[in-house]
């Protein structure tokens, strides 16, 4: 186990001051704890697949919600496309270890994603939810850096974590906040 499980309150706090419905918590906790029970590279990569599937599902749902204006919608679509690229690569890396990649996101993940957005209304709250999701993903990848062994997996996940940081910076900006408030992006703040 490489990370302590996150509480629902911790996960919601990462929305950056925008109040999120309690229904958002399971999805956020699911992303944050993607590697919580992982031991070894294969299990961590399996967690990364699940994490990225969750992000892809969420961004698709955000885009389809119709609640984002053109600019925010384009941002969500672009980020969703990049999450899909992450998913493709971590899936291939998992397969190199002989791990099986689920063709579809787990049912509980899809359910959590759908329920997460039922209580989130308006563009600001949707972007804040996306930001909270990115922040929890960064926290998960931060932990993964401390558990992975193989060089290529460390580099891949670090490059993904940096990209999630960029997403988070632009989401902060879209919410009128400072894009880079901290010198260290651990996903914990």
């Amino acid at each position: 186990m490489i990370a302590a499980p996150l509480t629902r309150r911790d996960a919601l706090r990462r929305a950056g001051g925008v109040a999120l419905a309690a229904s958002a918590a399971p999805m956020l906790v699911g992303v944050r704890d993607a590697f919580a029970a992982a031991r070894g590279d294969e299990q961590i990569l399996r967690g990364a697949v699940r994490l990225e599937q969750g992000l892809v599902v969420t961004y698709r749902t955000l885009v389809a919600s119709g609640d984002l204006d053109a600019r925010a919608g384009a941002l969500a679509r672009h980020f969703g496309d990049q999450e899909q690229q992450h998913l493709d690569v971590v899936s291939k890396e998992l397969q190199t270890l002989g791990g099986a990649v689920p063709s579809e996101p787990a049912a509980d993940l899809v359910k959590a994603g759908r329920e997460a957005l039922t209580g989130v209304d308006g563009q600001a709250a949707l972007l804040a939810f996306a930001g909270a999701l990115e922040q929890n993903a960064i926290a998960a990848y931060y932990e993964a850096q401390q558990g992975l062994q193989r060089d290529e997996f460390l580099r891949t996940t670090a490059a993904i974590m940096a990209n999630e940081g960029q997403h988070l910076a632009l989401l902060r900006e879209a919410l009128g906040r400072a894009p880079v408030p901290n010198a260290f992006e651990t996903g914990r703040g």
Partner: protein, 187 residues
């Protein structure tokens, strides 16, 4: 500034303590460093010291670069450069502290750094983007070489911030801020 090549003194990097804590490190991070300190003069710790000093040199150069950049910018761009300079100082300080925690001496910053010709604000932003690209590539190269798992996390947290800096600078340059799904940097 229109000089072909300007040189500048590096501002000091010895800042107030507690930066490892500021990096979001919990007690487990601190204890991780302390544990490694106990394994005195181990080969792994020596290698980590060398890697830390390599990263420190990257940060010292970034501090100097943003210091110069801020002098050549105005308004919001200047404020951004100053903010990023302060964050690079935090990185440098954290790395220096990690070196000391391993019982070694942090590498000193150079007295002078070569800075290219910075003819206008756009050139300054492009220069800063280049500094970030190099830093990102360096961190990606160094992370797997570290033996300390805690330091890997710290390096990744710095890498993510350099990537965020780059996205903001690209926006200021009128470029797509996040063009690639994998942040690789450039050497």
């Amino acid at each position: 500034m229109v000089e072909r090549r300007a040189f500048l003194a590096v501002a000091g990097t010895a800042l107030a303590g507690g930066v490892l804590a500021a990096c979001g490190s919990s007690d487990d991070d601190s204890s991780g460093i302390a544990t490694e300190t106990g394994a005195e003069q181990s080969t792994a710790a020596s290698a980590d010291v060398a890697i830390l000093n390599q990263a420190l040199a990257v940060e010292q150069r970034a501090v100097a670069a943003y210091h110069t950049a801020a002098e050549h910018l105005a308004g919001a761009r200047r404020a951004t450069a100053q903010h990023f300079e302060a964050q690079e100082r935090e990185h440098a300080d954290a790395l220096a502290q990690a070196v000391m925690a391993l019982g070694a001496t942090p590498a000193s910053a150079r007295d002078l750094y070569a800075i290219p010709s910075l003819d206008d604000a756009d050139a300054v932003v492009r220069f800063a983007m280049g500094v970030e690209q190099i830093a990102i590539a360096q961190y990606l190269d160094l992370i797997p070489k570290l033996s300390s798992q805690n330091l890997r996390g710290t390096f990744a947290s710095i890498l993510a911030v350099e990537a965020e800096h780059l996205a903001v600078l690209r926006e200021q340059a009128g470029q797509e801020p996040v063009p690639d799904a994998f942040v690789r940097g450039a050497t």
